[in-house]
Structure formats: C-alpha cells, structure tokens
Subunit: 436 residues, 4 copies
C-alpha cells in the first residue's frame, strides 16, 4: 500500500469535516440521547453505500447504565426529528443510539476497529462573543447540553475516515470497523456495545481523542494514553424517617447524618499501594424542612483508581461505609451503578505500529509514545479489555492541539485543523497495520 | 364586672367565627405574606370602628428574619388583592403584615395584650375526602401553603374577641391590645413587633394556642405552657472551589466534605446540664456534578434548648464547627439568621388569675396549671421576655381539643367548637384581671 | 417510741465515729477490694453481738461487673491483712466484700434497710498541708486510692447507726438491715447484692449520702434525690490488623480510625425527648507504632440518661456505632459491661415520713423535699427498683455539709460534724417509720 | 585501576564481617542511642589508623528530631559502656552518635560518600529457635530493641568497605567518606549530619540497603530506588479540660473528640495528582477516667508522599485538621516534628556508573536500573537533596537477598552472604567513578 497516497485522499474533505463537526456541535446530544447525531452519521454512510449497523445490532439493552426514563427518551427522539433526524431511522434505532460502519475489503487480513465517541456534556455553553461557536453561530441550541470534550470532532473524524477508507477499499486487506460509540461521558455506553460483541472479532482497536497538549504544541501524536484510571459511577439514595426535630428527635432516622458519617468514613480509604485512587461525592441533596429530622438524602458519587483493583476496593469501601452508617442511623439505602470503566494499558507492539505508521502524517509536529494520564477515565477501556482478553491489541491515541477553555466547561473549543490530522493518523495506523 | 354575662356575648358569633376561620384557611398565607388575612382582619375591625394599627406602626423593618425578596413579595401582594384583599390597605401596609387592635376603656386599669398568630405553614394540604377542609370546600387554594397549625382559628378567635370586648367596652377598665402576629412559624415575626414597642406598655400578656390534648380530652385549658424551648433558625452557605475530581482533586476545596465534617462535629455538643438541647440540619444541597469536586454546599438548620443558655451555647458550637471545618477544607461560609426565640416561663401569679377567671367558661372540661412542653418553640417568648423585663407578667394558654392529623401535616384539622371556647377563655382572663 | 431519746444515744459516739471514718480513710480500698474495711465493720458489729452476714451470703457472684482478676484480688487481700484485717474473716469472705448487719426486734413491724457504701475512688490523694487528712496524718496510705466521695463517712455512719439501734433494740418494732454496700463507684456492686436477695424482704429502703449543699448551708437534709440518672459503664476493644503504613496501608484494618468514626457517630445520638442524656468516651489507647497501621484500640466509656429508656437507647446506639464502624474498617470488637444503674425516683410517701421524722434532729438547719440531681448516678437505684418492684418504698437522703475540694478529687474532705447528724437522720427516719 | 583486583581484597573479611554484624545485632541500639555501635566502629577504624570524625564534628545539635531526654540518654551511655563501648570515646561523643571515616588518596579526584545506617528498631526480637539470631546466640540482649531492618549488616559493610579502601588507598584518586549515619529509623538523624555539612563537599553520594527481592532472587543489584517517598513524622498533644461527664459535661473541653474529629478530617486529604500519599495516626492515648470528660489526648502520626509537594500538602492539612478541631472543642494543641525526609530521585548518570561498575561483582545474579519503591522512606533523601543542590549526584542502591521474616518484625533476618556482595558493590562503584 502507498500510505501517503491514501492519506492525501483525506484532504478533499477539509471543508466537509468542519461543517459536520459544527453541525454536531450545534445539535449537541448527551449520552443515550444521540438520535440526531446517529441519524446523520447513518445517512452520510448510507449515501456512500457503506454498510452500517445500529440499534439493537450494536447495543445490548441488558447492559446499560444511567439509561433515561421512557418519557425523557421520547422527548429527545422528538426533538431529534424536529432538528433534522430521519424519523424512520430514529424509529429503527429502537431507543438505542450509536452505530458501527464496516469497510470490508473482502480480502484476508486483520480486523481493525476505530472508536469515535459522539455524545456531548451536560454543560451550558457560553454565549458571549469570545466563544467562537457562539460568535460563528454553531453554539448548541439544546440548552444545558454542549460538546465540551471534542466528541463532535471525533464523530466527524470517524465519518470522514470511513468515507476515505471506503474510497480505497480495494487497496485494503481485512476489515475496518468504525465504531461511533454512544455515551462515553460518565463511562456509560461502551459496555452495551461490548456486550453485543461489537469488538469480539477485533484484532486491533484504536481509539482517538483530541485535546490540549501540555506544552501548547500543536498536533503532537501520543500513540497511547498510559495509566487510564478505572472508575465506577454510582448513586446513593438513603431512606430514613422524618420526625419533628424539637418534639421527638429520637423518633427520626436521620438520613443526612447517615450521609455525613458515610462520606467521612469512605474518604479514609484513599491510600493504596496498588495505585492512586480518587473518590468524589459530587452532589448531595437531602431533607424536607429545617425543623424536620431529614428522612432522605441522595448523592451522586464516583471512585477512580490507577488500577482496577485499587478502584474496586475503594468502591466497595464506599458502599460499606454507606451501608454501615445507615445501620447506625436506622436508615436503609439503594445504590445504582451509573457507569464503569476498568483501567487499561495499551499494547506496546500496537503503539509502535501507530508511531511508525503516523510518521507519514505531515500535519504532525511530533510523535510520542505515551501521554501520562492522571485521574482521567474513558470507557474505551472496556473495549480495550475485551479485545485484549480475546487476544487482540489495543491503544488509545491522543492528538494534541490548540485548545480554548477547559474541557467540560462552557467555553471549550479547539483548533479544527486537528480534524484532518486525526483522520490521517487513523488512516496511517490502519494502512501500516495492514501492511505488516 | 359580671364575667359570665360578658362571656355569653360571644355565643352569637358562633357561626361567624367558623366562617372567618374557613375563609382564612382557604386563602392560607405564610410568614411575611399574610396580606389578605391582615386586610380582612383590619376591614372587620374598622367596620366596628375599632382602632387598629398596622404596617410600619406595628413592625420595625430593621428587625426582620427570613424576609422575602422584593419580587416574591410583590407577587404575594398581587395574589392577595386578587383573592379579595383591599388594594388600598395592602398598599398602606408598606410590605409588612400583622395588626394590633386597641380596645381602650378610657378608664384607669391594666393594659392587657392578647396574642393571636395568623400565618400558615409551607405545607401541601391533603386533597382527599377524608380531609374535611377538602370535602367541605375550604381547603387552601394557595398550593404549598396550608393552615396546619390552627393559626386560622387563632386569627378568627382574636377577631371575635376584639368584637366582644368592643361591645362591652364601657364595662372594662384599662386597655386591651389584640395582637395579630405575623410570621410565628419559624420564629420569624415576633421580633419585628417587639422592636416596634408593641408590648412595651403591657402589664399582662396572654397568648393562645389550640391543639390536641394528650389524653384526647376536649377543651382542657392549660393556663400556661411550661418549658418553651429557645431556638435559633439559620442557614449556612459554604463556598469552596470546583476542580476535576480525577485530574486535579487537590485543586478543589470540597464544600460537601466541609459540610459533612461540620455536621458530625456540631452533633457532638448536645449534652448540657443547663437543659435539653436539639440540633437539626434539616436540608442540604450541594455540588454540581458527579465528577467535579463540589465547590458549594448549602444547608438549613436550627438549634433548640430548654434554656436560652444551653441553646445559645449549641448555636455557637454549630457555627464554630462550620467555621473550623471550612478552614480545614479551604472554604469560606456565610450564615444568615432566619428566626429566633428565647426560652420563657409563665408568671405563676398570672397563671393563677387565668385559672381562676376561666373557671367561669362553661365549654371547658378541665383547667390545669401547665402543659409540659418538650422541644416546641414559639416566638411569643420574645414578647413574654420583653413584658417581663418591663415588669409585666406573661403566660401562654393552651386549649386542648379534638385534633385530626398531626400539626404541620397536610391532613391537620381540628374541632371548631374550640373557637368560641378560646374566645371565652380570653374574655374570662381579661375580665378577671380587670377585676383584681 | 420516744425518738428524741433514741437520737441522743448517738451523741456518745461522737468521738468514735470520727476515729472510724479516719481509719477507713487512711486505708482506702476501691470497689471489690474493701477487705480491710469489711473486716473492721464485721469485727466491730460482732463485738456487740450484732448479727452480720457477709461473703456469699450477701453477694451473688454471678452478677458482678468489673470484678478484678484473681492475682490482683489476692494482692489486695494480702495488703488488707497486712493493714489490720482479720485473716480469718478475709478468708471467709471468699473474695466478696460488703456486709449486712441485722437488728431484729423480734416484734412484728416493717423491715427497713439502710444503705451505706464503703468503697473509695481511684484517685491520688493530695499531700500538701492545705489538705487536712494529710496534715493530720490520716491521708490514704494506699497510693492511687482515696476516699474522695465521703464513703468513709458513710461506712462510719452505718456502723454507729447499727450500734445505737442495737442498744435500743427492745424499743423497736420489725427489723432493720444495715447494708454496707461494696463497689458503688462505677455502679458496679449493688447488682450483686440485689441478686442475692438482700433487699427482697424490705418494706422501706433509705440510702444516705453527704455532700456540699449548693448554697453552702450546713446540714440541710434533702429527704430525696430527684432525677437520679440511669447509666451503663462499658469497655470497647477494637481489633483490626497491623500493616506497614507506607508500603501496604490497604492491608491494614485501622482500629484507631474505626474508633474515631464510631466516637463521632455515637455522639450524634444525644437528643431524646425522654430526657437528658450523657455520653463519654473517657479514655482511649491504641496502636503500636507511628508507622504501623494500628491494629487495636481500646476505650472506656459510659452513657447516662434522665430515664432508663433514653439511656438505653443511647447505649445501644453507641454499640451499634462501634459495630458498624468496625464493619467499615474490617475490624471486630468486644465489649464488656462494667457497671449499670437505672434511673429511679423516690416514693413521695416515704419522703414525707423522712421529713417528718427528721424534724426531731437538732443538728439540721433545714429540711427539704428533694435535691435536684443533674447527671449523677448511684447504683442504689438498682436496690430502689427491686424494693419498689416488690411493693416497698425507697428514698435516697442527701445531707448537705461543708465540703472542701470537689468530689472525686485528691483534695476532697468534709466537715465531720455531719457524721452524727447523719446517724441521727437515719435513726429518726427508722423510728418514725416504726411508729406509723 | 583494576577494579577486579580491588574487589578481591574484600574476600578475606568474609568471616569478620559476619562477626561484626552479629556483634552489632546482639547489642542493638536505637536512634540517638548507638553509643556502643559507634564506639566499636571508631575503634576498628582507628586500629587501622583511618581518619574518623564523630560527635559534634559530624552532628549539628541544633537540627535534631526526637532527641531523647538527658536521663534516658545517660542510661543508654552507661549501658553501652557496660556492654563494651569505650568510656572515653562515649564521653568524647558529647551525646551524639554516628561517625564519618575519611579515606583520602591525597590525589585529585572526586569526593565520594558512601552512607551506611547503624540504628536498630524499637522491636522485640523473637526468642524461638526458628529464629537464627536466637538459635545461634546473637539475638538482641537489649529488650525491646532489635535490628529488624539490616542496619547491623549495613554498619558492618561500611566498616569493611573502609578497611579495604584504606588498604588500596594509594591506588585511589580523590576522597571517600564513609558515613555511619545515626537514627535512620523514623527519619530522624540525617538532618543533623547534613546540617553539619557532612555532604557539602560530596560529588557522588551512594547509599546501600539490603532486603528481599520481590521475586526471591538472590543478590540482584538495583542501582537506584525510584520513588522514595517524602515523609514527616510528628506528634500531636491536645489539651482540653476535664469535667464531670454526668454533672457538667458542657464545662469540659473534650480532647478525645477533638482527636477523633481531626483524624476523620485529615484522612480526607489523601488524593493528590502530584502522587500517592499516606497518612497514619499510629498510636493514640487520652483521657483519665471513664466518667471524666477527657482533657488530654496524644497521638503519634506521619505523612508520606510520592512527591514532597504532595506530602507537605497532606502534612499541612493534618495540622490544620488538628488546629481546627481543637478550636471547635475549645482545646489547644502542641505539635513536635519527630523526623523528616523529602522525596528524591537518583541521578541517571550515576545510576549508569553504578551499573557499569558493578558488572564486575561476581556475587551478583542480576543488575537492574531501579527498584520501584512504594511507600517506603529513608532520610538519605536529605543527603541526596543536599548533594544535588550543590551540583553533585546521588543514588540509593538496593541489594536483593534472601530474607526471613518481614522488615520491622521480631523474626527478621537475612542471608549474610549479601554482606561481602554489598561491600564489593560499593568498592566497584567507587572504583568506576574514579576511573571516569
């Protein structure tokens, strides 16, 4: 294969990729709700006659976390159609977003999966003129939802990568699966795709993320992210009993005290020689009135760890802290798992292939082996784990670029030049792997 | 004076007092918002040419707790007018509800104040047919506000007591002030009337509350409430700093942890040989997202004590707990006092007068010296304290009756027979005091 | 009976009672270890041929709290003999101190029990010349043990009371039991006597305590102590697992953290409408080295309550706090009950008899119905409860006197004039009860 | 230089090095108390006319942590002399142990320092026959003190290294300083030597530690220890006020509650993206009696961190937790720093020299770049830091061997074959550095 020739195919999409990214940005959709985004992806792929699977073909509904209530979902479907999604496609999705495009060369060769996430954040986008999306009219019209982690760009990259690979299909070997993953934020969605078997046949899995390089350098490729943390996202709902705080305080079962005691206890489990850990009770809400012993308290929390072992130990200690504090205060509790991702490490052999392959990408200023991650999570690790368990190899590329504002904030934006660079990195890695 | 004759004057109001109580019940208004109730009281008094003071004449705006924001207040004024308040009177109130009727005999004699509170609770009234107010069409039309502590009855009693006293004015000595107190719930309103001097000239202060007798007996008069607790109502707003919970947890200042630690600490200050104490963090709300170190946490709380000394010690310990926990977690905090009432004890001499005077009330089944209170509060204690400081005497009568549902609950109601009985107890006490 | 005549019999013991008290003071013995004191009491009683029971006749060894280890006990027996106890009597005690003298008139009449406690405190007595026992040579020679709660005086009073009653036996009716109770400090000993049936036949039980009157007035008799608190004394031993604090912190089970968390939690159970409560973790000891996750922690604690119900609720909450915190930190725990006394109230009828009878005691300056207790405990309540359960009546007299230093402190002392006064109060009460 | 020849000089000391190690083992001495060990070292060096400095020449008394009280020190000096130390040398030490031998070639060249620590642990040595030191009669005769971290071996190695270097002095360039460091356990002693300038002139600093290799392999040289943690050792003494727990609990200032609250709070500061951290409250002791609000509480604690930055943040948070909890409970506190070591990293260039040089050591089975440390600390880092600040280079070698029992436990022992291997590693490194 002539990788360089193939890469240059991407250049003609330089304008379209920006248009697509901005369209996704404007109609930002959060986890499990990406009906319009998915519809647009499918339509563009089908226009080129690219095989695409979606709905229950790519998601196993028995393995979903944080899945919305029916009413809310219906509302989002209707909004999506109102904003240009195909009503027919949305119906066919049967409530599950995400899609997988398949470029099959028909020839023997490896199966390579490329992962691109497509959901936005629960963030209110900035509406001042310092913020380009607002200034140039592509800021999110869905209030409270915004692409503040570049998944709009990832989705656009995935689409253009599929188009290019489709153009050069006869020059490829094996098969490429472009995974448009739903619900990466909160580590909710990957599991449902993994449990449908989406990566069970995959020899090489490569995921892509763009973001600010520490030194502000443009377009450095990190061929892997080292030290992806394990994480569990979960909710706790403590149920006690109200009582008059003056007249009969001893008749109450104080859910806020149970929460406070459990929060103090769980925070004392953070030291572990198996790696750094994190614990956060991010939100809390409880009680009904000042003079009523509070009979309920709800909190959203998460644990993280450099190793799954350390993280799971902390997760269990947090649950035990809640269970025991509830026992002390005569309360009961319910917990719901809202997301999970294990820790994972890239396979050095694949990292090397990526580095070698990407040497051909002219947009890159530097190529490095690994970005050292501290504390971040991505449920791509569930896919990596499955691929590695089945004998395949996986890595998670990070492409440094100019970034404006912090990730997960209303003023986030990035230099769109990285989009074509990202497409080319994926193409280069695929070509090099097929050549081997 | 012939007390018995005077008492019988009340009987002709038996129907009107129920009508008034149900009207107040239907248009329930919470603390600082009793514009319609106040307007109706003033109008009825003025119809009989009874002197009545209100607005800034009875409230000192420099001493208000939990006073609503301007917008909200305006909304309530408009609602009140829409529900039948006099627009002219509401305007004259200048934002402050409550009223004081004055029945001046013109003859030498004691000044006696009778206190009736008029505000409702922040409670959603029941809407099933087991609940008489709903069944008979006088349930609250103001959603989320309901008379669940009989203040509708108290207000009606005060009004009829004023009418009767006015009828027999020439037979009286001295002066009677009927205080229609705003905002008793949450111990918010009495201070503003005390600091306007409403009770500065009072020789005898008698307050009235109706409620369930422990033994279910109907119409027992307790000539005093013993052991009224001191209380402080206050809010705490902790301000920390958000940070990414995975990437840079140490950059955050965790307001939920500061809250949890302070709550645990303040709860360890409840033993005091100066009397029983109570502490309650009734509601809590904090944080913005699961994966963000929470930068703010807000809670509503209260302290109570058998003695003001014990309560104030606890209140200070609670504030110090918050201040110190905030220091540990690098947070700051603001606190706002939302209500206060000291502890107070009735004067035995006045209690005896009430008992003797009420021996003439035919509706009473029994007369007792004192109801032993545990944990309850009423900011009438601020008025009692002021009267006692000035050399006067004070007591708080409790009239037992049949009660349905618990106080401060959506299904609260009571047997309206107690209304005329309550009027007569006030009349009997006034007459007996004037005779002495 | 001529009470006054009988009272005057006490006067001739004015010198001996001081001698006895100082002897007991000098050889102070703590709970379960009062071998010498018991021996001296028995010897003096037997010298007058007064019937006296002791050892397993007055103590049920199945109901002992905080009973010392065998070695320690033996040491104390030997010390006692070395300090003048009868070796023969000590052997007959079979390890259990305390005694009951019986003055049986042989005539029909009530059985009256008088309780005097005899143990000292675990306190180091002052050794400066401001402290009379030191100055006058009767300070404790048993280091770390001192009579700092007047039980030396109580024991002397009981002895002289027995001698006087014995002298006038033919003038009495019924029977008097003088109970020399072991181990009152820490509420340890009464149970063992109650469970041997010592008060099962008692119609009237009167206990005596001397102490400072609040107003410093000398010799006021309070015919009862109102509001004796319930209490449980108990130890907690938490067992975790040591681990290297740097290398493998997660391998440890941190007993100090389990203790800290449980202490914070148990302190949040102090509000109860059933009465005031108290909780104290009085001592704590844990861990082995700075850099070792501590695998053990031990603490001594107690709960108290105005009512047994409130106290027992708190006691259970404390145990549950420990149990649950241990579960969180992977620890186990053991608890041992070291003492217990319920709350108890005097019988008004008996209180009246005591007041009337003691009107004849010339040494008294005033006679009052009740001393209001706040927070104090005495396991006389176990005896009171048993007597009351069996249909008898009980009270606990308090005789105010001049006091130097605080109770339970090394500088405690009192005006010995109260001793004969106390004897006479007991005699007067007995005589009046027999006259009725 | 012919490194190999020089190394072979060590072989003749194979017997003596074991004898010395066992002698130090038998007369184990803890930090600041190593009078006999120091005396023996000095005597052996002086026998060979090797220059040796000690006492105030190598220790700055203004920079000592955990220094014992005078009485205790005197006792240890006397014990040391009784166990064979030179009384004259002990006196010359002026209270400060440790020594520095100097082998000066007189020729130009680098100054190389080799550090060997000499203190034992506060550990009770096993006395059963499974434990070789006991079986073979060299177990510690100083009860409660035992070499359970191989410093006896390190001291012996240092001594023999000095002897060999002295023998071949004329073949050397530059200067070698053999530092016999006092008080490494608890990170107490290095500071006092650093602040006397002991390493101020050093170009290369190499420290040695022996211990179990993870894989059980014998004699692997790790040319550096990566990730030495920073640590602070400190004591906290909380002072409150006693009060009767029943009668006047509110009069007390509860030091145990202050301790419990501060312990819970400080344990919530363990997550830090600057590296892993550790916190341990290793021992606690507080209170005087069960029924006394505890007026004092003392605890020994430490913090650790992968980076000094993370550790110091935690240390400050711990102090602030104590300060703030004391404020809440009306207590005061004192804190004393008992030891400190920063984190430190080896210089790669020196690591390479060590690896290359040690290639000549026949006893080694493998040579690796770094042992990854997790959680361990050694105040050698203070020396490393000083050397690096002055432009020198430093590393900390770890020599894996067969180990019996865990470090810091009473059954610790190791295969003494490592002793000569360790001497040769030091010699090889020195020679290679001088050759460069």
């Amino acid at each position: 294969m002539q990788t360089t020739n193939i890469l240059s195919h991407a250049d003609k999409y330089a304008e379209e990729i920006v248009t697509i990214r901005r369209d996704f940005h404007k109609y930002a959709e959060a986890a499990w709700r990406e009906f319009r985004t998915t519809s647009k992806i499918i339509q563009r792929l089908q226009k080129e006659k690219i095989e695409v699977k979606f709905g229950l073909d790519v998601v196993n509904p028995d393995y979903v976390w944080s899945y919305p209530k029916e009413d809310e979902l219906k509302e989002h479907m209707e909004r999506a159609v109102g904003q240009g999604a195909s009503a027919e496609l949305v119906e066919k999705m049967q409530g599950y977003t995400g899609a997988v495009a398949i470029i099959d060369s028909g020839k023997a060769g490896p199966t390579i999966a490329l992962r691109f996430d497509i959901d936005c954040n629960d963030v209110l986008e900035n509406s001042n003129n310092d913020h380009r999306p607002h200034r140039e009219g592509f800021a999110s019209v869905n209030k409270g939802f915004a692409h503040a982690c570049a998944h709009d760009g990832h989705a656009a990259m995935g689409l253009i990568t599929a188009l290019v690979l489709n153009e050069v299909k006869d020059r490829l070997r094996g098969k490429v699966k472009i995974i448009f993953q739903l619900g990466e934020e909160g580590d909710k969605g990957a599991q449902s795709m993994v449990e449908r078997g989406v990566v069970d046949d995959v020899d090489y899995l490569i995921a892509t993320h763009v973001g600010a390089d520490k030194k502000g350098v443009k377009h450095t490729l990190y061929a892997s992210v080292a030290g992806l943390f394990s994480t569990t996202k979960f909710d706790i709902k403590i149920k006690g009993k109200n009582a008059h705080a003056g007249a009969r305080p001893e008749k109450g079962n104080n859910a806020i005290l149970a929460a406070a005691a459990s929060i103090m206890m769980m925070n004392s489990f953070l030291q572990d020689s198996n790696g750094q850990t994190r614990l956060n009770v991010g939100t809390i809400q409880g009680g009904t009135g000042r003079n009523v012993i509070p009979g309920e308290c709800f909190f959203r929390m998460e644990t993280r760890g450099q190793t799954t072992e350390a993280e799971q130990r902390l997760y269990k200690a947090a649950l035990e802290s809640v269970a025991s504090a509830c026992k002390v205060y005569g309360c009961t509790f319910e917990t719901e798992k809202m997301g999970f991702a294990p820790s994972a490490e890239a396979d050095p052999e694949l990292v090397k292939y990526i580095m070698d392959g990407c040497a051909n990408v002219p947009e890159l200023g530097a190529i490095k082996e690994a970005l050292i991650n501290t504390g971040g999570t991505d449920d791509i690790t569930l896919m990596m784990q499955r691929v590695q368990e089945k004998g395949g190899k996986a890595s998670y590329m990070f492409i440094g670029t100019e970034q404006y504002g912090d990730a997960h904030n209303g003023d986030f934006d990035f230099n769109e030049d990285v989009l074509i660079a990202g497409v080319k990195c994926n193409l280069a890695a695929v070509c090099h792997l097929m050549e081997k």
